[in-house]
Symmetry: D2
Subunit: 326 residues, 4 copies
């Protein structure tokens, strides 16, 4: 199923096996998000018991992991007015009111985000067989822009804490560790949770936890952004298709294992199938730490998950502030 | 209660009446968001019946209403790589993978957003009596930054479509129309919905609908941003305090009626009490059109509302992509 | 020479007449800037008599003429630290030092600027016959990026104040006025100045003066950016080629007359020949007011001109702060 | 003159010795730029012999030295339209014209720049004794903004290549090397050049050359931005005042030697005197390599220098593309 010497052929075969092209019509722009039906939201709401909620976001600031690759810098937040200005009467407002304002500049994939369907192409083809250049131009993604998902990203979330299951002592998988269908099944079985069609699947690898230990030790993010990492095996693509998840998010920079499982140089082969062929939404750089600790504690690994990306018109990816409610 | 000639005294009196300073302790940073308890999320989840969801966002792009006041320009979305580049082999990636990337620059209050508690001050004081200049500097809001709300903004949403209730033919209130407690009560009564402690209240005025008709007619946004508008009466502050809502959002630029109900020049007097004294989160430029039409149709004006602002560290306001689920 | 009904044919014929393709070799990236030789700088230096200098820049701020067309917003300048912060000890520095910092976000063609040679194409061809898509991608202009001009833009400047010559009372030409070779020659003759090979030619139309009167009257910039304007006639292309100027700049948004001299809808036909075929650098939104007044006063219309664009790697245009020295 | 244990006292004493407060009137905003008189421009023009010119700019792109300190990221250049788009007919223009556009986001001190007089304060005081917080707010520097220098930065440039003089083999000074008045005098004497009132002084340390060797070796910029470096000695302040230079620029991140010559922790003590007390303009991150090689070759170390900062209204520093002409 995976020829380590031949990524091209392996990718092509996987694409053929898992493709969702045409499944929801040739005009479809939602891909696997079609699977997140109203019924899934009813199912998700029924999972809310205590109402306790969890932030799954790495906050947005200049202290992030980005190092400038592909011009991806960290978010720059700047004030346009402050409390100090207000105290000084700037700007001049009547009757004692004062205000502060601010702005942000950031690559849309700088921190916690969803990849849109226009983010990755396979041999010039985007999701549903569209020409990459016909849909994503300098004016943005005119067909599968992230705004097409607006109002949809609320559903049943399932956490598979593979790291904690396989490495109970450290709760961290080593870099280069490929999470296979067997690992996913074993983790789900141990958690007593079933991954079903339309779920928003969260897979924890412990990579963020390791980066945070590095930061705490004064050695910074290291290669969290774009370096080696545990992640989903290329072979998990079939599993994701079989389980028909609506989206999958992890605590890593790039969802998939790095370096890849091929013996020759590759770049994100899992992405090359997952986004254009499966039409699968990938969530990157999520913070699953607090939620995972809670799930380990109460043994409940399913919850309502609200994760609407910021609907920037034509965006091929977008920041998100996901919330899980148990 | 409102002396049209004396905003200073009127504001001071209202602030004294509705103040939440100290209510949740002197270190509190959440204000009315304290009222959005886990129990409210349980209550909200129980409102999900069909699972149908609604996007409440004005999408983020250069075609927005901003005109540069306070350097608030419209969001600028720029591609860092496109499908056309990918087709041309740029950047050079192996085995046929290609990608697109993008970035955004925007004032945080350019479109659909939440005001944070550090956004407005009264005579140099922020929420809970803090010195404006002690908490909001060029490094951001070091105390009540919007990231402190992360993981909390999911709860029971209630829509009061005052415009449709009072103006059933047009479903639009005229500019300068002040929505009073009586209007809110009447609208709630007619809708058969009760506003309770910890709710996320949505008030529809029809102002966005009017702007959209103007755009469709080729005359643009007009003064949607910063011009005249229907909105909450200054007198609604007591009502909001009495009902202990967790937040209130509208389909207008600035929540409150413009021009104000004072006979002398003022600037956002409702804000001056609501944010620093009530500690109330205000949602601006929301798109309530589709949700309101559905509520008018099925008569159900309550729902689960997920509205997590993008947690930009230290931000005094933040964009949000709210979703309502019924 | 100009068929009002047939811009395509007229443009093609002009392109054939004035083309500089191959003139400086097939690898050339400098176009008419080749004409600005060291000898021209010697000539320019000899023009410095009093040492009085003139700023030719419209300063960069949010109060500029841009209205968002093609996502061209006005420059947004934001502080990252202020004197108020420094007084408050932010950031914390030793021994009483304090500092302020700032940032800018702007379209490179937002205000006073040079068009680079990668800015405009004719039927997909850039200067010297290159494929537009082969040189200007999302990674920037890999061949004629503005940085290739670094160190060159100092030379002999010549001002032709056509507005003052033709309209001595108002010193403003009406919108739609096309400046022809005859107007240029007459203005030069009256000024007693000769336009020679390698000159940096400045042509004043009075359009900025008119915009400033509008701003002073409270009616704002109007359509300075992209609206009607006096400017160079399409027929001036041959004159510019015959005189072999190194560059030409004006006080208008787009150098050329608007609307164009064609009877059918067009878009910047002068640009379509000037940049890709002539390889001519065009300067837009320059402020020639103070310099022009001085030239009118002393009768001297030639000077040393230093106008180095900010060398943003791969840029197709760049801001510039030109200085004239007499 | 420099008590290694007592930066406070040393700084205060130097400030008292070299202060220019009041020298050009209490309303003065130009500081040492007052010394760059029209006569200096006449003198500079007379230095132009061959007309050969030199770019002194480190170009602006994401591959710069910044690492995010004080939110100073590297410049991000993004295309708003490309040649690939134009070939695809985007945007739709008539008669075969196509275009490309772009934008930039950057801290104003990201690369080659001038520090403005509002950039640094001493115990809350800016140049000419003004209160830091009274002039530099979130609205920018309302008094000494960089735009006040517009039209002035053309004059006589003098290069003192201290590195090549002291280290003829490597032409690089070691990090921590403090350039004293004696070094400056010796270098000038060897070069046969005199530094006179109103000059734009360039001091080469070789620090950029060393960074470039590091980049070429694959080890990147290292700590060019904010790390150790050769630079001007604190004791050179008196020399700069005695010679009355209009400005001084170097090939380093911060002009002054790092670490400083004090035995206790300090931060940019030279700046603390130079900018607020001397009112001296400091140029940072200039590229003097090509010019210095030429000066070493022909023995001529003086030239016309045009270095107008981009006049961003209210900026406390600004990028510049300096050109030297010999």
């Amino acid at each position: 199923m995976l020829d380590p010497q031949d990524p091209e052929a392996t990718i092509a075969a996987a694409a053929a096996r898992v493709s969702n092209w045409g499944r929801w019509g040739e005009d479809d722009v939602l891909g696997t998000l079609n699977l997140l039906t109203p019924e899934k939201r009813v199912q998700a709401a029924a999972l809310v018991r205590s109402g306790v909620s969890f932030d799954l976001t790495q906050h947005f600031n200049t202290d992030g992991p980005q190092k400038g690759w592909l011009r991806r810098v960290n978010p720059v937040h700047a004030m346009l007015g402050t409390g100090l200005d207000a105290e000084a009467g700037i700007p001049a407002f009547p009757h004692g009111i004062g205000g502060a304002d601010d702005m942000i500049t950031m690559p849309l994939q700088a921190s916690t985000q969803w990849d849109g369907l226009g983010h990755i192409f396979d041999h010039g083809k985007a999701y549903n067989g569209r020409r990459a250049g016909a849909i994503v131009t300098s004016e943005g993604d005119n067909t599968t822009g992230i705004e097409t998902t607006a109002g949809r990203f609320v559903g049943r979330g399932v956490l598979l804490d593979v790291a904690r299951h396989l490495e109970p002592e450290t709760a961290e998988l080593p870099d280069g560790f490929a999470i296979t269908p067997e690992h996913l099944d074993a983790t789900a079985a141990a958690a007593g949770v079933e991954v079903t069609s339309g779920d928003l699947l969260l897979v924890r690898t412990g990579r963020l936890s390791r980066a945070r230990r590095s930061i705490a030790a004064g050695t910074g993010w290291g290669d969290y952004a774009g370096g080696e990492s545990p992640g989903l095996s290329f072979t998990s693509l079939d599993w994701l298709r079989a389980h028909d998840v609506a989206a999958v998010a992890t605590d890593t920079w790039g969802v998939e294992v790095r370096p890849s499982e091929f013996a020759v140089p590759t770049f994100q082969p899992f992405h090359q199938v997952a986004i254009p062929h499966l039409g699968l939404f990938l969530g990157e750089m999520w913070d699953l730490e607090e939620l995972a600790a809670d799930c380990a504690s109460d043994g409940v690994h399913e919850f309502l998950l609200a994760a609407p990306p910021l609907p920037v018109t034509g965006a091929v990816g977008a920041p998100v502030a996901p919330i899980a409610v148990k």
